[in-house]
């Protein structure tokens, strides 16, 4: 294994504090996410996991009352110094807990981001749509009905459509927020296989309620609890009890949360 220090840092989080009014959602978290790894974030509800994801692509600006302090660096550059926030967001794909099939055709769902980016040529769009749907393991199921509505697909298919849509932005970082809570186990496994393949091309931050899912997928894992970053380290190390904080063991063994 490569020594962590030698790996390129994709995201650097320094002293990140997120507040909603007086309520602190995340307190002074600092850690790095390396390129081409799956970085897991586990922790019970209200730990600040989703707030953290929102801070990465400056969605806090679209969220009334959400305040972010500290630093998030993307490729070494503070996200607040990105002059074009929309370009920043295009480089960070997001998948939500509940699948969001936009009320457009399957084709248009995936072609939306490229179109927003200014791509107009039909052939080029066709190519992107097919490639992204294939990578999200959905193409074979929908190739005969690309013009039917994306919002009418089943939950599991919609979630893969969401992933295909996120990939159509050609992101460098993919954020997944509890992607499997509305998806059946078989689809979950298929998506997990997709993620393992995608790891070679991009960096994945995976927020999960499922401790075992994090163990299956994540190279390194952070444990958030009540707005505090309790621990971060190699996933296997965490699960083999090589931990500094007893709360991590308690959570992993299911004593709370």
């Amino acid at each position: 294994m490569v020594a962590p220090d030698a790996r390129a840092k994709k995201l650097e989080i320094k002293n990140l504090t997120i507040r909603y009014g007086d309520q602190v959602a995340l307190h002074a978290a600092s850690f790095d996410v390396y390129e081409n790894e799956i970085f897991g974030i586990i922790g019970p509800a209200n730990s600040g996991k989703t707030s953290f994801l929102r801070a990465l692509n400056r969605m806090n600006e679209m969220t009334p009352g959400m305040h972010v302090a500290g630093e998030v660096r993307f490729d070494g550059l503070d996200v607040n110094d990105w002059r074009d926030v929309y370009a920043l967001r295009r480089r960070i794909g997001v998948v939500f807990p509940l699948p969001v099939g936009l009320p457009l055709s399957i084709y248009d769902n995936v072609a939306l981001a490229p179109r927003l980016g200014g791509i107009r040529k039909k052939a080029q769009l066709d190519e992107i749509v097919e490639r992204c749907l294939t990578r999200a393991a959905l193409f074979d199921e929908v190739k005969d009905r690309l013009t039917s509505l994306g919002s009418l697909l089943s939950g599991g298919q919609q979630q893969r459509l969401t992933i295909a849509r996120a990939l159509s932005q050609e992101p460098e970082v993919l954020l997944l927020d509890e992607f499997s809570i509305a998806v059946d186990p078989v689809t979950t496994m298929r998506i997990e296989d997709v993620l393992k393949e995608l790891k070679s091309e991009l960096t994945i931050v995976l927020v999960s309620n499922l401790v075992r899912q994090a163990r299956r997928l994540a190279d390194r894992t952070a444990f958030f609890l009540g707005g505090e970053l309790v621990e971060v380290g190699d996933t296997e190390a965490l699960f083999t009890r090589d931990v500094q904080d007893s709360r991590t063991t308690d959570y992993l063994e299911g004593r709370f949360g």
């Binding site: 692509n57 969605m59 679209m62 009334p64 929309y86 370009a87 920043l88 967001r89 295009r90 960070i92 794909g93 997001v94 939500f96 509940l98 969001v100 099939g101 936009l102 009320p103 457009l104 939306l112 981001a113 927003l116 980016g117 509505l149 919002s151 009418l152 969401t162 849509r165 996120a166 932005q169």
Partner: protein, 292 residues
């Protein structure tokens, strides 16, 4: 064992109560539509079958005691069309701002309060406002322009509120998904929010039209004339209008045959009902197209 499946007295009581309430609410509902039916029947009977095609295509004759309502009908169309041109872009823009851009602060709350209050202002007050603002201050004179702008101001709250509600019916998750893709607020509105709220917006607009058609007070001082022997040629002309025409022949003109006001009233109600029916049909059609 079988006794547990038998109808108990409690079940029996619940069923009676269920029937009672069902009957009660049904009766109230039927009572509510009675006035509409009675009005329609009265108008139809008392108009004595004087409505024919020529009633809509002829000018009033003989001091408005004979003939048709052609100039009033055309005038009403003018007033409604110009009012729409003024109020729909303004109202929809304001609703988009309030729903999609504005943050929840004292200014937004003040605007919302103002809109609610504007909706509650009596139409005669709007009429005087229109007289002061459009006829005199902006010097449009008594004209279609002044009357339509008065109508537009009066119906703006309806457009704003109905549009805002249609916009807010679009799930927030759609917007979030777009923003996360790097879409601007406007791209999100244009590509996702508006296409999915257009049915509600159109319904609101049609309801606004049907209200505008019937208004009398706001146009009385601002642009509607008692009688004109010609059609308006521009928005700076005065015009006749259905609602004012009805008021005039029912109260101000001697020697009007008793059937004539009822015919005008029936035509007016007919227009409103056709518009409402169109709005319901449109809504039903677009709801059927709803995509989530």
């Amino acid at each position: 064992m079988s006794s547990s499946f038998a109808t108990t007295s409690l079940n029996e009581k619940n069923r009676l109560r269920e029937r009672l309430f069902r009957g009660l609410f049904g009766l109230v509902t039927i009572t509510l539509i009675l006035p509409v039916i009675i009005i329609l029947i009265t108008l139809t009977v008392k108009s004595q079958g004087t409505i024919s095609l020529s009633f809509f295509t002829e000018y009033p004759r003989n001091n408005m005691t004979e003939g048709g309502i052609f100039p009033a009908l055309v005038g009403t169309l003018w007033l409604v069309a110009v009012a729409l041109i003024a109020s729909v872009p303004l109202g929809v823009s304001a609703a988009i701002y309030l729903s999609e851009y504005a943050r929840d602060n004292w200014l937004t709350r003040a605007i919302n309060l103002a809109i609610i209050n504007l909706a509650g202002v009596p139409s005669i007050v709007h009429a005087l406002f229109g007289l002061g603002a459009f006829v005199l201050f902006f010097n449009f004179g008594t004209s279609i322009l002044a009357a339509s702008l008065t109508l537009a101001v009066m119906t703006l709250p309806v457009v704003i509120v109905s549009t805002r509600e249609s916009l807010q019916a679009v799930p927030q998750s759609f917007r979030e998904a777009c923003w996360n893709m790097g879409a601007t607020r406007w791209q999100t509105i244009w590509r996702i929010v508006l296409p999915n709220s257009i049915s509600g917006i159109l319904t609101g607009v049609i309801l606004e039209v049907s209200r505008t058609v019937g208004e009398t007070a706001p146009i009385m001082f601002t642009g509607a004339a008692l009688f004109l022997p010609f059609l308006p040629t521009s928005v700076y002309d005065q015009t006749m209008a259905m609602s004012l025409h009805l008021y005039i022949i029912a109260t101000q003109v001697p020697g009007v045959p008793p059937s004539l006001p009822y015919s005008v009233a029936l035509s007016l109600i007919g227009i409103v009902m056709v518009l409402n029916a169109a709005s319901i049909a449109l809504r039903t059609y677009l709801r059927g197209q709803k995509k989530w």
